[in-house]
C-alpha cells in the first residue's frame, strides 16, 4: 500500500539531482561515448571490455588501459541481429551483447574478457573469437576449488597469463608488480566507498533508493576508478544532505540478478510498490571482492587470495560447505530484512535452478519471499508491480505492531 505514490527523486537537492543526472546519462550511453572521449583525451590509450563479474579489473588498469564493464543492452538496444545467433530459449544478455558488438558500439574496445559465469557466456567467448578475429579475446576461467595450493595456484597462473597478455596488448614497460599494487590500492578504495554507500542504504533506505545506488554503481563500468570513487563520495554527501520522507515500505533483499541485470525501471517499480531494497546482488562485479586485497608482497597472489576468500556467493560459484540457502538467511537477519525478492533472468539455468533450494530454506526460516523472472529488455511492469505490491502489502498488513 502506498498512500504516497510520488515517483522520481522526491526530496532530491540540486546537488543530488546533478549526480543522478550524470549517472543516468552514463547508464543510457550504449554507444560508449564517454569511453571514446576518455580515449581521445589520452592519445588513443587502449580499452578492454569485460562482462562484469569475477574479472580482476586491477590487471587492466595496471596495464595502463581503461577497463570497461559491458552490461548488456539495458533494454535500450533493439535486438535485430542478436536474435539471429541465439534461440528463443536463451537468456537476453548474450544477444544484446553481440548486438552491441555487431552494430559497432563496441568498436572502441581493443579486447574483451569473458569471465566464467555459465555455459552461455562461455560459448559467447568463442563466438567473439570467430566474429572479431582481430581483437584480444579471452575466456577467463575461475577455479571452483578454493584450496590455495590447488585452485589458488591455478588461478594465480591464470592471472599471470592474463596480465602478461594485457601488458603486451598495451605495450607498457612500467614495473609490473608495482603498478599492479597501486591499482589494487585504487580499487580497494573504490570498494570501500561503495561499501559505505550500501551500508547507508541498508540503514536509511529512504535516503538512498536502490534506483539511485544502482545507477551510481553502474557508472563504475565506464569511469576510471578514481573518478568513480569521487562520484560515489559526491553522491553520499549529497544524499546525506537531502531530506527525504520515510515511507511505509517493507525491507527486502533482492537476489538472483548477478548476471543479466534487471531493467532499472524494474528496481524503481519494486520501490514504488512498497519495497525498500536493503541488499541486492545487482552490479555485483563492482563490489567484488568484498574485502581489501593486500597491497603487500606478490600482487597476483594477493588477488588470487582475494578471490578465494572474499568472493560474494552467486549461483555460478560452487559452495563447498552447505548450500546457498543458509548464507541468504544470514544476510536477511543481518540486514533486518522482512522478506526476499527472488528475481532471476528468464532462461538463466544457474539462477533458476537454485530458486527451489532458496525457497525451501527461506520457508524453513520463516522468511517471506516472492519470486519472478525478468529480462533486461522487459517493458511492462504491471505484473511485477502487482506481485511486489502484494508482497509488500502482506508484510505490512500482518506484521503485528
Amino acid at each position: 500500500m502506498h498512500e504516497d505514490s510520488s515517483s522520481g527523486s522526491p526530496g532530491a537537492t540540486p546537488r543530488l539531482s546533478a549526480v543522478i543526472a550524470r549517472c543516468e546519462a552514463l547508464y543510457h550511453d550504449v554507444d560508449l561515448r564517454t569511453v571514446h572521449d576518455w580515449r581521445a583525451a589520452r592519445g588513443g590509450r587502449k580499452v578492454v571490455g569485460y562482462m562484469p563479474i569475477y574479472v580482476p579489473r586491477e590487471l587492466i588498469d595496471a596495464a595502463g588501459m581503461l577497463p570497461v564493464g559491458i552490461m548488456g543492452g539495458r533494454g535500450q538496444v533493439e535486438i535485430i541481429r542478436g536474435d539471429a545467433w541465439f534461440q528463443s530459449y536463451i537468456c537476453q544478455i548474450p544477444r544484446s551483447t553481440i548486438e552491441l558488438a555487431l552494430t559497432g558500439r563496441l568498436d572502441v574496445l581493443d579486447g574483451m574478457l569473458f569471465p566464467s559465469i555459465c555455459d552461455v557466456i562461455r560459448n559467447l567467448s568463442g563466438m567473439w573469437k570467430v566474429k572479431f578475429p582481430g581483437k584480444y579475446v579471452r575466456y577467463f576461467d575461475v577455479p571452483q576449488n578454493y584450496e590455495p595450493e590447488v585452485g589458488g595456484r591455478f588461478y594465480r597462473e591464470e592471472l599471470r597469463h592474463l596480465y602478461a597478455d594485457l601488458r603486451r596488448l598495451s605495450g607498457t614497460t612500467e614495473d609490473a608488480d608495482e603498478t599492479l599494487r597501486r591499482s589494487i590500492a585504487r580499487y580497494n578504495e573504490n570498494r570501500r566507498v561503495i561499501g559505505e554507500l550500501l551500508e547507508l542504504r541498508a540503514k536509511e533506505p529512504w535516503r538512498v533508493p536502490t534506483y539511485e545506488s544502482y545507477l551510481v554503481l553502474f557508472a563504475g563500468n565506464v569511469l576510471p576508478v578514481e573518478e568513480h570513487t569521487a562520484l560515489v563520495r559526491e553522491y553520499i554527501a549529497a544524499a546525506l544532505e537531502s531530506d527525504r520522507p520515510r515511507r511505509d515500505n517493507a525491507r527486502v533483499v533482492l537476489t538472483g540478478a548477478f548476471c543479466e541485470q534487471p531493467p532499472i525501471e524494474l528496481i524503481r517499480t519494486l520501490e514504488l510498490a512498497g519495497c525498500y531494497v536493503v541488499s541486492d546482488d545487482t552490479a555485483l562485479g563492482r563490489r567484488w571482492p568484498t574485502e581489501d586485497v593486500s597491497t603487500e608482497g606478490d600482487p597476483l597472489l594477493a588477488l588470487a587470495t582475494g578471490f578465494l576468500r572474499h568472493s560474494p556467493p552467486t549461483a555460478a560459484r560452487y559452495e563447498p560447505h552447505g548450500d546457498r540457502g543458509e548464507p541468504l538467511v544470514t544476510l536477511v537477519k543481518k540486514q533486518r530484512a522482512e522478506g526476499v525478492v527472488l528475481a532471476a533472468p528468464s532462461f538463466c539455468d544457474p539462477a533458476l535452478l537454485e530458486q527451489p533450494i532458496l525457497q525451501d530454506t527461506l520457508d524453513a526460516a520463516r522468511v517471506p519471499w516472492t519470486a519472478f523472472k525478468y529480462a533486461e529488455n522487459l517493458g511492462q511492469f504491471q505484473v511485477i508491480r502487482e506481485q511486489a505490491g502484494t508482497f509488500a502489502d502482506s508484510i505490512k498488513l500482518w506484521s503485528e505492531p
Binding site: H2, S5, Q382, T390, D393
Partner: protein, 305 residues
C-alpha cells in the same frame, strides 16, 4: 461505537468496479459484521477511464445513500493507483484475497480471471496471501480471449456460459492465440462443430490452464472464482471437471510411478454471484482497517503512511 463506511474502487483494463462497505468501528482486521451497501460495475468500452471511475463511484455512493464526506477511506486496487480522491492503494491480490474471504469464509484460495490476466491466489484464514501464480504476457485463455471468441461466434457474453454447458462433445483446442482464434473458430464452424461444443472446448482448455495455476500455487480446499469470469458458468463447470478428475489409474499403479504424481488435489470450485466485486470489496475492507490504524496515530514504520 457505530459503523464506518469505506469504499473500494477496482479499476480493471476492461471494467471498473466499486463497492461501498459498512463495518463496525473498531472491528480491526477481521471486520466482523461488515456488509456491502452498494456495488456497481461498468465496462470501459474504449471510453475515458478516469471519467468512468468518477461516475461509477458517484453512482455507487448514490445507491448506498452515503456521501463522500462520510467515507473514512477510499481504497483503490487494480490499475487504480492514480484515482483522484483516493486515500490509498492496495494491490490486486491483497484485495482479492480479502474480498473472496468476505464473500465466502470457507475459501482458502481465489482464482481471479479478468480481461487480460488470470491468477491463482492462496491465502490463510486471515486473508494473508501465501502463494500465487499468474498467467504470462499472452492473452490466450483470458477474458478478452473469450470475448473475442464470443464475438467471432456471434453470441453475447451472457450467453456463453449457458451455451457451453449445453455442449455435448467438446471440440479440443489448445493454446490458440486470442487474435488468430478467429480463423480457428471459423474453421471449426465450417467443419460443422456447434457453437456449444466450440465453447465447451475453449472452456476446457482455459480450465486446464487455470487448474495448473491453482495446483502450482498449492491451493487446497475451497476455491472462489472471482473477477469478470466468475459469472461464466461454463468456465466454472469446466474447472470442476479439470480439478475433480479422479487420479489416473492404469492397472495396479506401482508406487513411484509417474501417474502417482498426477493425482488431483481435492479442490472445490465455488462461483459467487458477486465474485466480480471481490477486489473492490476487499479493498474497501482493508481501507477501513487502515483508517483505524491511522486514526490510532501509529507512526512506526509498519503503520505509518
Amino acid at each position: 461505537m457505530g459503523n464506518v463506511v469505506s469504499v473500494g474502487i477496482d479499476v480493471g483494463s476492461s471494467t471498473v468496479k466499486v463497492a461501498v462497505v459498512e463495518s463496525p468501528a473498531g472491528s480491526g482486521r477481521e471486520r466482523v459484521g461488515a456488509r456491502v451497501l452498494s456495488r456497481v460495475v461498468e465496462r470501459t468500452r474504449r471510453r475515458d477511464q478516469n471519467q468512468i471511475v468518477q461516475s461509477t463511484w458517484a453512482d455507487a455512493m448514490e445507491r448506498a445513500g452515503v456521501s463522500k464526506r462520510d467515507l473514512v477511506y477510499v481504497a483503490t486496487t487494480g490499475e487504480g493507483e492514480t484515482v483522484e480522491g483516493a486515500t490509498g492503494h492496495f494491490y490486486g491480490m491483497t484485495a482479492h484475497a480479502r474480498g473472496a474471504l468476505f464473500l465466502d469464509p470457507a475459501v482458502r484460495a481465489a482464482l481471479d480471471v479478468g480481461s487480460l490476466h488470470a491468477r491463482a491466489i492462496r491465502f490463510d484464514e486471515r486473508a494473508k496471501v501465501l502463494d500465487y501464480r499468474m498467467t504470462s504476457q499472452c492473452a490466450s485463455g483470458t477474458g478478452q480471449f473469450l470475448e473475442n471468441i464470443a464475438r467471432y461466434l456471434g453470441v453475447t457474453l451472457d450467453e456463453v456460459g449457458r451455451l457451453s454447458l449445453e455442449g455435448t462433445s467438446a471440440e479440443k483446442v489448445s493454446g490458440i492465440c486470442a487474435v488468430l482464434a478467429e480463423t480457428d473458430v471459423i474453421n471449426m464452424v465450417s467443419r460443422g462443430v456447434t457453437t456449444q461444443n466450440i465453447l465447451k472446448g475453449i472452456h476446457e482448455s482455459m480450465a486446464g490452464g487455470f487448474a495448473k495455476l491453482l495446483r502450482n500455487a498449492r491451493a487446497e480446499g475451497v476455491v472462489l472464482v472471482t473477477g469478470g469470469l466468475s459469472a461464466d458458468a461454463g468456465l466454472t463447470g469446466a474447472l470442476r471437471e479439470a480439478l475433480g478428475k479422479p487420479p489416473k489409474k492404469k492397472g495396479p499403479s506401482k508406487p513411484g510411478q509417474a501417474e502417482a504424481v498426477e493425482t488431483a488435489l481435492p479442490l472445490e470450485i465455488r462461483p459467487h454471484p458477486e465474485g466480480v466485486f471481490a477486489g473492490a470489496i476487499g479493498a474497501a475492507l482493508w481501507g477501513a482497517y487502515r483508517a483505524e490504524r491511522l486514526a490510532a496515530g501509529e507512526s512506526a514504520p509498519h503503520a505509518s503512511v
